[in-house]
Symmetry: C2
Subunit: 202 residues, 2 copies
């Protein structure tokens, strides 16, 4: 009996445009090496408290660079990009909805996460309200009222908090952050290194 | 009469291990596109004041990642890496010595800069004292006493300050930071993008 290799852990916050860039590539990249991906939204703000940092959009010079770089990067990857009306925004609703979906239907959860990213950064839509998240999930067959109720459920809230704490305990401090058999890679610009690592012989 | 294309601007601080990784590649990369490189050491601390950040080695989680990542990255590039006894250290002496050399002998200045990086991160030597910098420059034929005098010269000090201010005014906030005809790229992990940009058709 052979054992399937462990999935890659893909940590992200729906508020990160660089996480969006990675999200659009990571599944295909992993599949090219016979690997799957475990998507893991976290609340990046909690990690930022540990590192004493703050959103790039609030930092002089870095915010200008981000605005230029992320558009250029998306163009290079050939994926659509549009700035949402505000950046970053709280993404609790989307992250909680993800974990609510995940245990029973992991594949649906991943398709939901992609749809959220595509709405937020592919089309520049706001995604902060539970109703907005429900509208994104509706075409996937997710019941809107159930989703809105779930993101207010203390059990679901605790789950996101626990996932975030566990991520920080594993050294995750930014997004996207990818663990390949425990090997950490931070940044959308490291996906080529993830690819090389999976190829082996590094 | 044809005009040579402008050189790439390569901004760095000798204290940055990621700048070392880029420094070992940037000249060859540019040469592959018929371009030269203008090396420009700056005092990264001044840029960090603008962005409100601090050295990665002082930041929880990020320091652990850096220690792991930079060794792995150097291995991938096939270049030697050794941690200096302390990181980061003040690099005023080396940066001032660079500009002192540069106006008269730009090629010597670049070879000096590479030698400083190789000492600090290739062999893990301390480079903070003018005498240490002079010892690195000696095999290149640089007079040690003149170098030690130069790094205390107010004109040379002002030059480094002016270069740093000018870099920040151009949006430089980290190291390595590369400007290709004004197009900004931050990070050793973006050299492949610099290469693609120089190839054109992005």
């Amino acid at each position: 009996m052979t054992t399937d290799p462990a999935p890659l852990d893909f940590y992200f916050d729906f508020a990160s445009p660089y996480a969006y860039l990675a999200a659009m590539r990571i599944d295909d990249l992993a599949a090219g090496h016979g690997r799957s991906v475990r998507w893991r939204p976290i609340m990046l703000g909690a990690a930022m408290k540990v590192t004493g940092s703050r959103p790039l959009m609030q930092i002089p010079l870095r915010s200008d660079y981000l605005r230029h770089d992320v558009v250029r990067f998306a163009r290079r990857l050939g994926i659509p990009f549009a700035f949402p009306p505000e950046m970053p925004i709280p993404t609790l609703a989307a992250a909680r909805a993800f974990y609510w979906l995940q245990d029973d239907e992991p594949d649906l959860a991943r398709r939901f996460a992609r749809a959220v990213f595509e709405a937020h950064f592919g089309r520049g839509e706001d995604i902060r309200e539970p109703s907005q998240v429900a509208a994104i999930a509706a075409p996937l067959g997710v019941d809107g009222a159930a989703l809105v109720a779930a993101v207010a459920d203390p059990v679901v809230k605790d789950r996101l908090r626990a996932e975030t704490d566990a991520a920080i305990a594993r050294g995750v401090f930014g997004a996207p952050f990818i663990l390949v058999d425990g090997e950490p890679f931070w940044g959308a610009d490291r996906l080529d290194q993830v690819d090389a690592w999976l190829r082996g012989g590094w």
